[in-house]
């Protein structure tokens, strides 16, 4: 069973504070959507509103074109996996999974069959008689997902479910979640502030900030063509380099000029831009480290981060601005060296005063 979910002009207030402001979104059936944003951006509140754990102040939420925002959580046909897993500590894994089905009066043999099938999918048949306190963090996570699966919901909601796992287990569970989605072909909504989780899991990412949606798009759209300066800075590690720049729009493509005279020829159409102050943006992998004097600018290396397959070079420009560039994994650059920074104009971005983004022409 799967469903599309529509959120229409939804707002939410806690007292005088607005948490979500006139937000609209359409989630297609079988889609894996990730709500990504910093703490306090409203992503968990939106998820809880879909679940029915928070009321909707204004607007509507519909599943398969039927309004559900007036229904209690249990009647919405939705299952949720909580950050803390929220397993019932005094019940066995089997009872945890059965509880929701018992509440709707499902016959015992059907409940047993559902539990058996879910346990088989999640490879946790041997855990069924244990209590949550006897399980590891990863196993509890699995049980929480199992408790959701047995209900065969129209949509799964995940509220930062990986944040309590250690790094290795988080990576493994992430892959398992992706496989589970392919297998179940259900609509899944996943809330996280971890961009790696968002990039690896999502069909589409909804980037949220300050009560609003900043951008909705596929992971690579979000990464390559961020709609706003916030998205550009929030998605990607290390964060995108930003430099205040003046724009020379005299030629076909705009040229960004930094305060200390450095110029970068972009592939952004001049006639698309408008007058005003700009911020030039470029990702670290689009800044190559070259010998001093051979790039767009020279800088002195502050810090090196050797990641194995590449080396991140933090170089300081003459005016004190730090730029992160990328060099080979076996880079011979050392801290204190003077290096050249070659900006790839085709991959550069411009951001206006309102945060709106301009990108190079799509090839």
């Amino acid at each position: 069973m799967t469903a599309d979910i529509e959120i229409r002009n939804v707002s939410k207030h806690f007292g005088a504070m607005t948490v979500l402001d006139d937000l609209s979104l359409f989630i297609k059936a079988r889609e894996f959507i990730v709500f990504l944003g910093p703490s306090g951006c409203g992503k968990s509140t939106l998820l809880r509103m879909i679940a029915g754990l928070e009321t909707v102040d204004t607007g509507e939420i519909a599943i398969n074109n039927e309004r559900i925002d007036h229904l209690p959580p249990g009647k919405r046909g939705i299952a949720m996996v909580f950050q803390s897993y929220a397993l019932y500590p005094h019940m066995s894994v089997r009872d945890n999974m059965a509880f929701g089905l018992e509440n709707i009066g499902m016959p015992r043999d059907l409940i047993d069959a559902r539990i058996k099938e879910s346990a088989r999918i999640l490879e946790m048949e041997h855990l069924l008689e244990r209590k949550p306190g006897q399980l590891s963090g990863g196993q509890r996570q699995r049980v929480a997902i199992g408790r959701a699966i047995v209900k065969e919901p129209k949509a799964f909601l995940f509220d930062e479910p990986l944040s309590n796992l250690d790094a290795a287990l988080r990576t493994r569970t992430r892959i398992e979640l992706a496989q589970l989605h392919q297998r179940l072909q259900s609509t899944m909504i996943f809330v996280t502030h971890d961009q790696v989780e968002a990039m690896t899991l999502a069909d589409r990412i909804v980037v949220m900030n300050n009560r609003k949606i900043e951008q909705i798009g596929s992971p690579m759209e979000i990464y390559d063509r961020p709609a706003t300066k916030f998205v550009a800075g929030f998605v990607g590690a290390p964060a995108m380099n930003f430099v205040e720049a003046m724009l020379d729009r005299s030629s076909r493509n705009a040229t960004a000029r930094f305060a200390d005279g450095i110029a970068v020829q972009t592939e952004i159409a001049s006639d698309q831009t408008i007058d005003g102050k700009y911020t030039f943006g470029i990702r670290s992998e689009d800044v190559r480290i070259v010998p001093a004097g051979q790039g767009n600018a020279d800088g002195v290396v502050d810090v090196l981060e050797r990641l194995g397959e590449r080396t991140l070079v933090y170089a300081r420009l003459g005016d004190g601005q730090q730029i992160v560039g990328s060099d080979a994994g076996n880079s011979r650059v050392a801290v204190g060296d003077k290096v050249g920074l070659a900006f790839d104009g085709r991959k550069s971005h411009l951001f206006g005063e309102t945060g709106r983004a301009w990108h190079a022409r799509e090839v």
Partner: protein
């Protein structure tokens, strides 16, 4: 290599000193109990002649036979069981429901009401005794079980304890139950209440012990002999000369009265220790 050996030796000596202190303090605590048991096993005439006779034979169960022989004792024990049991059960039910309400429900005046409940902790029983006596008298509640049980049901401490305990249970469990289509009562009954068992045990033990040992209110409310609780009944059997002429009999009654409490302690020791230390059993 020598340093750890010295340290272990030093620790062993420290442990022995600690053990000796624990034994000494335990003896100080247990001595009165042993003294009571010893006295209860002696003939009164012998005790009157020489109190030190408690340390040597002959011993006798005559005082216990006399105590049990007083036919009313069984009635008083039965009354105490009904009153203490009823009060414990009632307190657990009311405190759990009230605690859940204060911890989980939003209703107008909740905070004010909770403060009023807490204020009940500060009001001594003696302050309301006369008024309560008059009200119960008007309602003809004296010399009834409900007359003995009802006053104890206004358990401010129980409501406070259960409220705090329910508050400590993560709200995600309620939310998970809501998503599992459970009604509010089913969430309370099947999900939250089982998690409060340690608090229930603590509250239950204290309530039961308090009710079992209560003397003041039963003395006022139960004026008929067949409605006496054990404490009042035992006191009624003591004559003016009990201290000098019936000390063995008196002590046998004390042992008899204390036995159920001892049994409660033995069975619920874990929870009593937890309750006294203020830690939570998870």
């Amino acid at each position: 290599m020598r340093a750890p050996a010295i340290s272990i030796k030093g620790r062993a000596f420290g442990d022995r000193v600690l053990l000796a202190l624990v034994i000494l303090l335990s003896l100080v605590m247990v001595a009165p109990v042993l003294w009571v048991i010893g006295l209860s096993l002696k003939e009164n005439a012998e005790l009157m002649a020489n109190p030190n006779s408690v340390f040597h034979a002959p011993y006798t169960l005559k005082n216990y036979v006399n105590t049990i022989g007083t036919s009313s004792v069984f009635v008083w024990v039965f009354n105490s069981i009904i009153v203490s049991g009823g009060l414990t059960l009632g307190t657990l039910i009311l405190s759990s429901l009230a605690g859940y309400g204060f911890a989980r429900l939003n209703f107008p005046g909740r905070n004010v009401l909770f403060v009023i409940v807490l204020f009940g902790l500060a009001v001594p029983e003696q302050a309301v005794l006369v008024a309560r006596h008059q009200i119960f008298s008007m309602l003809n509640f004296h010399n009834t079980y409900h007359g003995l049980i009802l006053p104890g049901l206004s358990a401010s401490f129980g409501v406070f304890l259960m409220t705090q305990y329910f508050k400590a249970i993560p709200k995600e469990l309620d939310e998970a139950a809501m998503l599992d289509n459970a009604s509010r009562f089913r969430t309370f009954w099947k999900v939250l209440l089982p998690l409060t068992v340690p608090a229930q045990a603590t509250l239950g033990i204290f309530t039961f012990l308090g009710a079992w040992n209560d003397y003041l209110w039963p003395l006022i409310s139960a004026t008929k002999k067949d409605m006496y609780t054990l404490t009042v009944g035992m006191a009624s059997t003591q004559t003016n000369f009990a201290q000098s002429e019936g000390i063995g009999f008196l002590m046998a009654q004390a042992v008899f009265a204390g036995a159920p409490i001892l049994i409660v302690y033995l069975f619920f020791q874990k929870y009593i220790v937890t309750a006294v230390s203020g830690a939570a059993v998870r």
